[in-house]
């Protein structure tokens, strides 16, 4: 019978502490990494689910694939408390201003995940009414390919976002490059 210790060793991997100076009874590391560690394991996603990818996201949130294991248990449908805007499904030209408005009203620091081919590039719907990819209106951090992507792919996308969140420096959001990137989308 595997002892208590082995079970922990095999199944549960606890988040590794960031590098820092270790001493008797103290641990020192840079503020970026501590804040990054805290943010990355408690991302509150805003599920902007429109079509088929929305149903696949329901499968990712349900008990089988369970996105809650990665700290994203708490969905926030209002942009005020959301960190990550997950755009899932086809965005038509009628819906584009809505996506932009929701993105604008999110509190900094904010990230965007484009789930599925439709959100990333318009997918198979190259038609007069579909916006060919949301990166034409808002900056996107992670693209998840697939139509719809499997829940494992969505979780992989979330992990990629978590790496970005973990490594981000605290001054990035006020840096000139970031302001210039937003200006290129007409967001002041």
């Amino acid at each position: 019978m595997s002892t208590e210790k082995d079970i922990i060793e095999t199944n549960v991997n606890i988040t590794k502490a960031p590098e820092g100076i270790e001493g008797a009874g103290f641990f020192a590391t840079s503020l970026d990494q501590v804040v990054g560690l805290a943010r990355k394991n408690s991302i509150w996603p805003l599920p902007f689910a429109t079509s088929c990818c929305g149903i696949e996201f329901m499968a990712t949130m349900a008990s089988h694939y369970d996105l809650a294991r990665f700290g994203s248990e708490r969905l926030s449908f209002s942009p005020r408390q959301a960190d990550l805007l997950m755009v899932m499904g086809t965005i038509s030209k009628k819906l584009a201003p809505v996506v932009k408005q929701v993105y604008l009203q999110m509190a900094e620091p904010r990230w965007v995940l484009a789930m599925g081919a439709c959100a990333s590039s318009g997918g198979i719907f190259d038609t007069y009414s579909v916006l060919q990819g949301i990166d034409r209106i808002i900056p996107v951090d992670v693209y998840v390919s697939g139509c719809p992507p499997r829940p494992e792919q969505v979780i992989d996308g979330i992990l990629r976002v978590q790496e970005l969140v973990g490594k981000e420096s605290l001054r990035r959001r006020n840096s000139p490059e970031y302001t210039e990137l937003l200006a290129s989308y007409g967001i002041e």
């Binding site: 590039s121 318009g122 190259d126 038609t127």
Partner: protein, 168 residues
């Protein structure tokens, strides 16, 4: 099924005379081409018709025939269904581009409300007597009617579909 078409055709012929342009049986649907002015009266007549009570409007859609003769460029296809005797029929109405008005049937079937708005949205067919004829699926201020054959399907802003690479 063939005698059903004849029966209904004969009844309609007696009642409306030359408003019934033609009748035919297409696979399993008795189809009647009728004059557009009479469409509402024909539907009222069929609603409480003694042979079959066609009281369920299954579907309504528009079609654009660019190569047809000028008077028959746009068509609206109605499909009715008598749920009790399980008999379906199809009514077709043709109209030209210049006066593209077709009387609305919303007074008889509430289901036609959005179906007619969708047909207007796609083909620009004006349904006279419709309570709120506004584009429903596309943006209200879209200047053109996208389902007409002369308009392209593609959005045109895609860079990865470079026609030269596909020999177009």
């Amino acid at each position: 099924m063939e005698n059903v078409t004849q029966e209904i055709g004969k009844e309609l012929q007696d009642k409306f005379g030359d408003a019934i342009v033609s009748q035919s049986l297409i696979i399993d649907f008795p189809t009647f081409v009728v004059k557009k002015e009479k469409i509402l009266d024909i539907m009222n007549f069929l609603y409480d018709f003694e042979l079959y009570k066609f009281q369920f409007l299954t579907s309504l859609c528009g079609v654009h025939f660019p190569d047809n003769v000028k008077e028959e460029e746009y068509s609206v296809v109605y499909q009715l269904h008598d749920l009790v005797r399980n008999q379906r029929i199809r009514l077709k109405v043709f109209t030209s581009e210049s006066q593209i008005q077709v009387p609305s049937v919303t007074s008889l079937f509430s289901t036609a409300n959005w179906l007619e708005r969708e047909t207007f949205d796609f083909f620009g067919i004006q349904f006279t007597g419709h309570p709120n004829l506004v584009k429903i699926l596309n943006m209200e201020d879209q200047p053109y009617f996208p389902m007409r054959k002369q308009y392209p399907l593609e959005d045109g802003t895609r860079e990865d579909k470079d026609d030269s690479k596909f020999g177009r």
